[in-house]
């Protein structure tokens, strides 16, 4: 059969078996392209097809799928993110984690739309992928090393211009929220992809390529990129992102009631003014950005005073300032910077690490954990020293760190004595820095997201920043529809490989995305924005079907008890709780899913082109007859 010419795409998928030390390269199928676009879409479809239900997330059968979109490395702005899809050791379900930097573009240059890794290497290994050649290299000399040191050695050994993803000691020790780090300080942090790499004895994937993607209509695409950049610079959020990235919203979101404190107890945070943007700006000593992104939202902070002086590091993002800061009652900015750096070095997700530490602090406050059980650490709210020590203990699984390395869900089960009440997670994934009681569609997204509590799965712009329209964040009516809409849109943009930051601020309008996708690929279907939105919905449905196949149901679409029973204590959401049952009922109706079980109906699956998936769910007895 003649190979169909794929423009924009690399046109190939690399399949690696670590057990057999073998690999093969196949063409990227045209139906995969049309039905799933790329990046998150590719990862979801490949995981559904390749992973047997019930596989151990930390076993050799699990797959680790790196994928990129058709716009990566084409000149389109903010479009070269890489996606990592796997069964999560935290949630036991479908997961996709996202990273920035240069790695995604380098995958395209090497000639791959996706790299699918299975099996388990016999001994510590790293992959050296240079264009069409894949080498299985011994990683014994960097096993045990922190991410930066391992990076330096591997890049030096192979090619100073290579790009890589790497794990630290936390991933090697199977900490369930270990991150995957890049050589340019970015992370695909959430869900435990680093632990999956560690379980495969895979320290790093080093990539170097020399190919340039061929696009369908270069002149048109160049014109559209110019249009895109023009939209960027005129957008009111553009300058804010360039100046301070996500740190521009900390004080604002505290004021709006979104920014959590004290393990989501939401007490007033004394000294919160230190997070005002004008007070954070003086820390910036250097800026940067991902491959082909005019926005450039990276800032490097320098600490010059106190016990944590002497570092220049990628700044703690909004989420991290909260989880390693206000969630622990901590406003010591230099300490947060230091804790953030430690997480990157050990290879830990700063959100899950921070929430887990805040959980331990609250257990200590309540007397559920005593000093004897914390290895002598005195976990007093606002004290940074135990935070630093706990990060190290978690990463190395020492003492109490071994329990906390399992994440709050499993740690609470192990500790018992009512600890579950203080474990802030959904489906095992620790909550990010928003309060479901203060933004109902956003909270509903946490409850229903197929990866657990992720703000990136369906960022509710209308509630959080009043864009593209302003809605009352505390209202319940209409929120199910809003939640579905932002989840589907996010899935679509992530299938195209686009970053959430410009997308959620309106810098990549759907019509422009559609035209760029067509100019890059020549795929006729991509000219229709409504088709693209349907693909987004298809992806969310397939992810849901994956979880249903693994045994998930409505009972997993929930939130921690604190949000359902404890009224929010301060303005502007004072007195609010999260109305879970009503919002869930509305959501399943909006989705066309079975209200009692949360399972997508056959009608819905067939509507989004997933008849075969409906057949499989039926065969597995997942439908109530």
């Amino acid at each position: 059969m003649a190979r169909h010419k794929l423009y924009g795409y690399a046109g190939r998928i690399l399949w690696i078996d670590l057990t057999l030390k073998s690999y093969s390269i196949t063409d990227t199928p045209l139906d995969l392209v049309k039905n799933y676009i790329g990046a998150r879409g590719f990862g979801t479809k490949i995981l559904w097809d390749q992973l047997k239900p019930g596989a151990d997330a930390l076993g050799p059968d699990n797959k680790l799928i790196f994928s990129i979109g058709p716009l990566a490395a084409t000149g389109v702005q903010s479009a070269s993110r890489f996606f990592v899809t796997f069964k999560s050791p935290l949630t036991g379900g479908y997961f996709r984690s996202v990273g920035g930097g240069q790695f995604g573009a380098e995958m395209k240059f090497a000639g791959y739309d996706a790299i699918v890794i299975g099996g388990r290497a016999e001994r510590p290994t790293y992959l050296w992928i240079h264009d069409d050649v894949v080498e299985f290299k011994d990683a014994s000399h960097v096993w045990g090393a922190v991410t930066t040191h391992a990076t330096e050695h591997l890049i030096d050994e192979m090619d100073r211009n290579a790009k890589l993803v790497v794990i630290g000691p936390a991933g090697e020790r199977l900490v369930r929220y270990a991150s995957i780090q890049t050589n340019d300080n970015r992370s695909a942090a959430r869900g435990g992809g680093g632990a999956v790499m560690g379980s495969k004895n895979l320290k790093a994937v080093v990539v170097r390529g020399s190919k340039k993607p061929e696009v369908f209509d270069r002149d048109e695409l160049n014109r559209l990129v110019k249009e895109q950049i023009d939209i960027y610079v005129k957008n009111p959020a553009f300058e804010g992102f360039r100046q301070l990235g996500t740190n521009g919203i900390i004080y604002l979101f505290y004021t709006l009631g979104h920014y959590p404190t004290y393990n989501f107890k939401q007490l007033e945070l004394e000294n919160v003014e230190v997070f005002r943007p004008e007070d954070l700006l003086p820390y910036v000593v250097k800026r940067g950005g991902c491959y082909a992104c005019a926005m450039g939202c990276w800032q490097f902070f320098k600490s010059v005073k106190g016990p944590f002086a002497g570092i220049i590091w990628d700044k703690p993002e909004y989420e991290t300032q909260c989880t390693l800061g206000s969630l622990i009652g901590l406003t010591h900015r230099e300490a947060i910077m230091y804790a953030n750096m430690l997480c990157d070095l050990y290879g830990l997700d700063t959100i899950s690490a921070g929430v887990t530490i805040a959980f331990a602090y609250e257990l200590y406050e309540k007397g559920i954990l005593t000093k004897r059980e914390t290895d002598g650490l005195d976990l007093r709210w606002g004290d940074p020293e135990p935070v630093i020590e706990l990060i190290r203990k978690i990463a190395l699984r020492e003492g109490i760190g071994d329990v906390l390395a399992e994440g709050v869900k499993r740690a609470a089960e192990a500790i018992g004595r009512g600890a579950e009440r203080y474990a802030m997670h959904v489906k095992g994934l620790e909550l990010p820095a928003y309060d479901p009681r203060a933004a109902k569609a956003h909270g509903l997204n946490f409850a229903t997201s197929n990866i657990g509590a992720s703000h990136m799965y369906g960022w509710s712009g209308p509630e959080l920043i009043g864009f593209p329209e302003k809605v009352d964040p505390l209202a319940v009516e209409g929120k199910a529809t809003l939640c579905k809409r932002v989840q589907d849109e996010m899935a679509l943009y992530e299938a195209a490989g686009i970053c959430q930051f410009p997308m959620s601020s309106g810098m990549v309008p759907l019509d422009l995305l559609s035209r760029m996708l067509h100019a890059a690929t020549g795929v006729e279907e991509f000219k229709r924005p409504e088709y693209l939105v349907m693909v987004g919905e298809r992806i969310v449905n397939l992810e849901r079907a994956f979880n249903v196949r693994e045994g998930f149901s409505r009972r997993d679409d929930t939130l921690p008890e604190r949000f359902l029973r404890e009224p929010y204590p301060r303005a502007p959401a004072k007195g609010q709780v999260f109305e879970l049952d009503k919002l869930l009922d509305d959501y399943y109706v909006a989705r066309g899913w079975e209200p009692k079980t949360g399972v997508p109906t056959r009608t819905k699956l067939e509507e989004v082109g997933l008849k075969d998936v409906a057949d499989e769910l039926e065969k597995l007895g997942k439908y109530i007859m």
């Binding site: 009111p236 004008e278 960022w459 959620s504």
Partner: protein
Amino acid sequence: MRVLVEFAWSLAEKVGKKYIWLDVKGEELDLQDIFSRILPSILGEDLGKALHDLLLNRGAFVVVNGIMAKDLKVKVKDGDKILLQPIASGG
């Protein structure tokens, strides 16, 4: 009545202060009055107009007591806290 207006980030730099208390005698006011009339009389016409234009062009968030203002018709009362910040986003 007494109203606190906070300026964040580049607006604090432009205005030269992080906040300002407004003492206004017994009127019923909305945000439009604050930004088109009262602030320009304190900060100067040029700066006042620049701020007002920024709001009209949706270049800044206006938050009243922790709630994002839908428009400039929102009523202001004694003790209110108004935060003005350039647009930002993320997560």
